[in-house]
Amino acid sequence: MVKALTFILALVIIGISHAQAGIFNAQTTTLENGLQVVVVPNTRAPIVHHMLWYKAGSAQEINGYSGVAHFLEHLLFKGTDHPDRPLAPGEFSTRIKKLGGQNNAFTSKDYTAFYQTVSKQHLETVMQMEADRIRHAMPPQKHVLSEREVVIEERKQRTDNNPQARFFEQMQAALFPGHPYGRPIIGWDEEITKMDHDHTKAFYDSWYYPNNAVLIIAGDVTLNEILPSVQRIYGAIPKGPETKRHFPVVPAFEGETRVTHYDDQVNQTLWMRGIRAPSYRQNKTDSLALQVLENILDGGATTRLYKQLVVEKKLAVNVSFSYGADQYGKSTIWLSATPAPGIDVDTVEDQIEQLINDVIETGVTDTELTEAKKRMQNAAILARDSLSGPAQIIGRALTTGSTLQDIETWDEQIQSVTKEQIQNVAKQYLKMPPHGKYHYVTGVLYPQEDKQQHKGEGERE
């Protein structure tokens, strides 16, 4: 007992690092079993947002078993067989409700996260419940089968009933052939209908360990205050095997890839292009420059894309450029546009390419750079006006290879980006052939009635 106390005290004094004057001023330590703990103090209300993130998502599934990561997320609500504290299927959520709390979970390509929001006095209770399902989630077979039906309904609702979602699913598959990022997170219909207990359990036993997880608690607490209970509850779970995420290479395409969909439920044309680009983990300098470029091109109603295509030239009704830095593997830049009525989709594509070529050839202006940096710096302040927002940002970054220091100093890193770096990343990642190999996919989703007309025009380029 004394020994344990001394150990805890030592952790409190030595182990905790405070990132000084960071965006969130989060506090962190790592338990002996490898669990990283992050606390984001927020005294607005006597509540806490408690999240456990696993560094495993759909990208860690074995080929042929797509959807297993997400299915497992569902099954973690189907009971635990902890010897002292078993929970019946569904009891996890109903208990949280009795506490006046809310809870849910989500699965992404690189991570799976479970969270609860409760009054501060219930924090220990939810910690214990969450800790118990790190190693003791074991739903009975019949609940596995009924939950599979639920996931099939979820897929119909999210994807099968939605032509834009089906199109986007095909775009991702085309952009990442043979790579796990090409699979839908929810899984292919043919594979989720066959998901079973054993393969899901195998995924659980490969990835769900404290040393492959990050605990984030945002709210009216400090790390010093809660570390003893975190240590007692989460620290008691044995460390698991070392985990390592593995990704195949996706070679550049030798020819241009195009996805063309016609759909009778669609009433207007949608144009998209996905371009593979490095994530923050893969290349910090380039990723930061891409983040600023994203803001210069699509940081509001007065930045380049919207201003030129929607306001001035009236070629599109909406247009967007989005780059997500938080990926463990390759990231993607998604460009999309809805052509204005009467405007041919090829015209829109040409104009977007021309606008990007302007950046490649002449770069961005000093004013654009200054304004984008200011917007991004303000965004960092505004991000603190939220309970769950900072926990989300930190969880996403820490599970995709960033450190807390990276997150806390994000605005300073953004300030260091130069015009040259921006022009350089534009050249390197946005330049379209004939220079370099193809690393992008272009797609168009048309209303069904356009098909006849296109046939009449003969082969499209």
Binding site: F77, Q102, K156, Q265, A301, V311, V317, I381, L382, D385
Partner: protein, 455 residues
């Protein structure tokens, strides 16, 4: 999430005999009146250098738009931040963006509302921008046309969403003959009828001080809040025309409507009449709804239909109240083959709730959740401002949330049983199905082939 939160607020109701708080307040709301006479509710919160201001003009909603100009108030909400005073659309938007000021307007059926969020450092500029947007909106041809196109694109996009079509059809049949039956977002043809002059007239006639409700939360003192509100709003016209009584009884009860679409999953919506927040049965109705389908996981509908039967990804019930009517709705989706089974189970759970008293535990769990979850909404300055604005729009005292526990705790098992019998008469429900449902008894179904008020 946002939807749940709105439901929660909708459910918090008013009572005439609220007692003075005896313990620590749930939310430290201060009421103040500005020198020009505007009432403001304020929560000071200096945690982050951010200020959120929310406001609404009650009565100035889509309900006022004529049938041939459906979407008028929606288009207004999109164009009021697209140029005002000396700022044209681009310079107005650029000033907002360069200073990270968020300003947005939104149109509801009953009111026109807005939200301003600014860093403390840019408070004077934010104040000025909102003032000119409200008092000198330009409605220049270019932004009006651009926003018209954006709305038409949104409608075309929504036309491929079975859930959206279901909601659209439900409005059309449940509110037949009333302005609520119209499409508040506009239709492809009515949007083209709206002129800049229409937008100007609407502002002049309807955005008036007698309709205004304001709340502020964040890094601001009482005196600063007062100055800010007067600087923004005090020059608005005083009074609007008196609104006519539009009280509505839900129409077409007991009927089932089908719109066929070749999609793999059918979307289902069910509506029943309900009680108003001022009704003595209201708190019992709220607890009954929580147990029936309002709470998500743990509710009877979710446990039976999702957890046991695996028929859906989600099923929810909720109470809603608008200025002129109120109801209870149930929404879900299921594969086409299981639509009849889904409808049977929804009815069966209602019957059980009517015929068998709930347990003491169920009652206590519902009360614990409803009261225990209240602090969870206090997460941002915007959320605090929203809570205060909703309370005002519902004509509640600022101490309401401090005292709500006594109204909730007073509800008995018998109250819940009685209100279930009063409200859950599924034979009187309106049902709307969009999809390609199989094995459905077609006898009593009205098929709708053309979507009303969309194109």
């Amino acid at each position: 999430m946002r939807y749940m939160y709105l439901i929660l607020l909708t459910l918090l109701s008013v009572s005439a005999h609220a007692q003075a708080p005896t313990q620590e307040r749930f939310l430290d709301i201060e009421e103040l009146t500005t020198p020009s006479g505007i009432n403001v509710w304020l929560v000071e919160d200096h945690n982050v250098p951010v200020i959120s201001l929310k406001f609404a003009f009650k009565g100035a909603g889509a309900v006022l738009a004529p049938k041939d100009k459906q979407g008028l108030v929606q288009l207004l909400s999109n164009t009021m931040d697209e140029g005002a005073g000396d700022y044209d659309a681009q310079s107005f938007q650029k000033t907002l963006a360069d200073n990270s000021i968020s300003l947005s307007f939104s149109s509801g059926r009953d009111s026109f509302s807005g939200s301003l969020k600014t860093l403390t450092a840019t408070k004077p500029l934010a104040t000025k921008l909102l003032n000119v947007a409200l008092t000198q909106p330009r409605f220049d041809k270019e932004p009006v046309e651009r926003m018209r196109q954006a709305n038409m694109s949104r409608i075309k996009q929504n036309m491929s969403s079975p859930d959206w079509i279901t909601a659209r059809l439900m409005n059309d049949v449940a509110y037949e003959g009333h302005p609520y039956a119209l499409n508040s977002g506009g239709t492809l043809s009515t949007l083209t009828n709206i002129t800049s002059q229409d937008l100007k007239n609407f502002v002049d006639e309807n955005l008036t001080l007698d309709r205004l409700y304001v709340s502020i939360a964040g890094d601001v003192t009482k005196a600063q809040a007062s100055d800010m509100v007067d600087a923004i709003f005090s020059s608005l016209p005083k009074n609007a025309k008196t609104q006519e009584d539009l009280t509505l009884t839900i129409q077409n009860q007991g009927k089932t409507y089908l719109h066929e679409r070749p999609v793999p999953q059918a979307s289902i919506s069910i509506m029943l009449p309900s009680v108003r927040k001022t009704d003595p049965d209201y708190y019992a109705a709220r607890i009954m709804n929580h147990i029936y389908g309002g709470s998500g996981f743990g509710s009877r509908l979710m446990e039976t239909i999702r957890e046991k039967e695996g028929l859906t990804y989600g099923i929810y019930s909720g109470l809603f109240e608008m200025d002129w009517t109120q109801g209870l709705n149930i929404s879900t989706s299921t594969r086409n083959e299981t639509v009849p089974k889904m409808l049977d189970l929804i009815k069966q759970e209602a019957t059980t709730l009517k015929n068998t008293p709930i347990s003491e535990d169920e009652l206590q769990d519902a009360k614990d959740y409803i009261l225990g979850s209240m602090p969870l909404s206090l997460t941002s300055t915007g959320a605090l401002a929203s809570i205060m604005l909703s309370l005002q729009l519902d004509d509640r005292p600022s101490t309401y949330l401090d005292n709500i526990d006594q109204y909730i705790n007073a509800v008995t098992i018998n109250d819940v049983n009685n209100v279930a019998n009063k409200l859950l008469d599924l034979d009187q429900a309106i049902t709307v199905i969009v999809g390609d449902p199989q094995n459905l008894n077609q006898d009593q179904i009205t098929k709708i082939t053309t979507l009303p008020n969309v194109e």
